[in-house]
Amino acid sequence: ADKPELHMGTNANFPPYEYHEYVDDADTIVGIDAEVAAAICDYLGYTLVIDDMEFGAIITAVQTGKIDFGMAGMTVTDERKESVNFSDTYATGIQVIIVKEGSAITTADDLFAEGANHIIGVQESTTGDLYCTWDIEDEGLGTVDRYKNGADAVQALVTDKVDCVVIDNEPAKAFVAANEGLIILDTEYVTEDYAIAIAKENTELLEKVNEALKALTEDGTIPAIIEKYIPAEEAAE
Amino acid sequence: MTTNVLIKVTGLEKHFGKGENAVRALRGVDAEITQGEKLVVIGPSGSGKSTFLRCLNRLEEPTGGQIIFDGVDITSPSCDINHVRRRMGMVFQQFNLFPHKTVLQNITLAPVKHKLMTREQANARAMELLNRVGLVEKAAAYPSQLSGGQKQRIAIVRALAMNPEVMLFDEPTSALDPEMVGEVLQVMKDLAREGMTMVVVTHEMGFAREVSDRVMFMDEGRIVEQGTPGDIFVNPQNKRTQDFLSKLL
């Protein structure tokens, strides 16, 4: 019990990677990231503490030392690498496009078509937000509406406030399952690697985390966690 | 002649408040005011003079009794009091000019909004009336730029602009500095001479003597005594009238 604490920052409105659930009468953050982080801490001899914060605050919080690492289905990008170090990849994420059934948008290319003018819902500061901002809004091909969390963006799609939502594949599946009349387009927006963000100075922790990831992948712990949240038959589909 | 009666008041009652604490401001007042008559109402403070006057155009809602104006029962629920009021001018102690409007706008507002005249007609009529009271050059001024006497003269003009059939005055000179009382009384005298029916609550006994056809003395919500100025001022019959006048003169 007197193991040192390791603080993880995340935005817990992002199933199945992290979300709130009452477990044994306590408000708990569960999900792939939460369990992988717990396994890493267990392996390294730390007690895990999860801080729920705005997604856009996580990188800053890592930089300032408010948290020891950030783990929020976070994609490695060059910009982010300028601010923090990233661990090895522990999962692969795909940014997909959710639309309403019968939508005029049928492939990712429709978003970039000449003269396209769609409203795209995203979660503020996620890679989906960044890519759409660069590829679409900055090119004058549409508007990006940035919501505080993915669920709000999906809610906006349901009520036709936006034409589509660009978001990570796994939460997208959860969202589509929960809302009738939504589909995920077959063409994905982009594929990317999820990794753990750690402060530049803290190379020691980075090495330890990488070591843990390697060991836990080899002994099957991490694949088991992913399998638990994303059953294989579903992943194959 | 009954056709001559412009206003007929019967059994007028006015209570403020309800139940035991009610103030009985008017306790059964009967009165007739004939066409062209100049009636002056006098009486001690709190006797109900203002209340009586304000009941005549229903600024105070009577609690009981009847008021017939030009053959119409204006206390009946079916009567459109707004139309009746257009035929009765009222002048207040505190002038009550509209401070956000110029003199001309004060005068023409009602005739124009009520579509009694076009704006041009109303303006012309206003200038004519202003000329009569010697205030033509104040047409574009705001009330705050006028003296008390000028304000009251404008208030009279504003009421006259509606071509009313009767003018009601509630102590029109009481709020004025003494040197301004004369100019307002002069306008009222001119008006009387032209034959306007007038009901005037005032403490100006000189005016009452000179102008009025009848003086009505009220006390405690009742008409105690009435008659010609000669009768009332020279030969008051009632003890209370005598008391009141002796204190005043």
Partner: protein
């Protein structure tokens, strides 16, 4: 020292110059002003109507005869009271979300939703201000209006309300300043106001300091400027009587 300055400069370029990020602030500012301005208009208009109903009821309901007029007035008075209680009893951001996700769920014009939502909220606060203004207009003004044959609504509209609004003009102008700050929560529902402009830059550059301070400074300049205008207005009104 020069190193520190270089750091600041680099931060500045990263946050505002690169990829023309300053434009997020500019469009955000524009939306903030737009929402504030139109919300204030709605607030004043609706607030005045509520104030008229409330003050009419307060002054006349007791003395009125029973009848349809009284019933109607009493009904509207109750509606207004309920409106005031509900709007003043809940946070504006909750109201905004209810408008965004429930009432206007299928509207895409989120700026318009914000305008309506902040406007309806503002009305509840403006109503109390205007009501005070109406109560401060001498009752003789109403009597003069009525004795000229105007009905109650005409008297209110032509005579009492213009004076009441003039009396509370500085307070109403101040409502603009209050709303300017209040609309900063519009980003809660993906509206691109000034605050959100800063958020977008922050999300892209991961440097919180510059964007937040820039946004704060813009608000500060706006508030100081408008407060100065309100002060001027107040002094002018005090020196004129009509």
């Amino acid at each position: 020292m020069s190193e520190w300055f270089d750091g600041i400069k680099a931060q500045f370029i990263l946050n505002f110059v690169e990829k023309s990020r300053w434009r997020y602030l500019l469009t955000g500012l524009f939306n903030t002003l737009k929402i504030t301005f139109f919300a204030v208009l709605i607030g004043i208009a609706l607030g005045t109507v509520i104030a008229i109903v409330r003050s009419t009821a307060d002054r006349n309901l007791n003395a009125m005869r029973h009848g349809p007029g009284r019933t109607i007035l009493s009904f509207f008075d109750k509606i207004c009271r309920l409106y005031l209680t509900v709007v003043r009893g809940t946070p504006v951001v909750i109201q905004l979300m209810i408008f965004y996700y429930v009432i206007f769920a299928s509207s895409r014009n989120s700026v318009l939703i914000a305008i309506i939502s902040f406007g309806l909220n503002s009305a509840a606060y403006v109503a109390e201000v205007v009501r005070g203004g109406i109560m401060s207009v001498d009752i003789g003004q109403t009597e003069a209006g009525r004795s000229l044959g105007f009905n109650y609504v005409q008297t209110m509209w032509l005579i009492v309300v213009p004076q009441a609004l003039k009396n509370v003009l500085p307070a109403l102008a101040n409502e603009f300043i209050v709303l300017l700050k209040e609309t900063s929560v519009a980003g809660y529902v993906a509206i691109k106001d000034l605050t959100k402009g800063g958020d977008i830059i922050r999300g892209a550059t991961y440097s919180p300091f510059m964007p937040l301070i820039a946004v704060a400074l813009i608000y500060l300049v706006l508030v100081v400027f408008f407060s100065w205008l309100v002060g001027k207005l107040e002094r002018r009104l005090r020196n004129s009587d009509h």
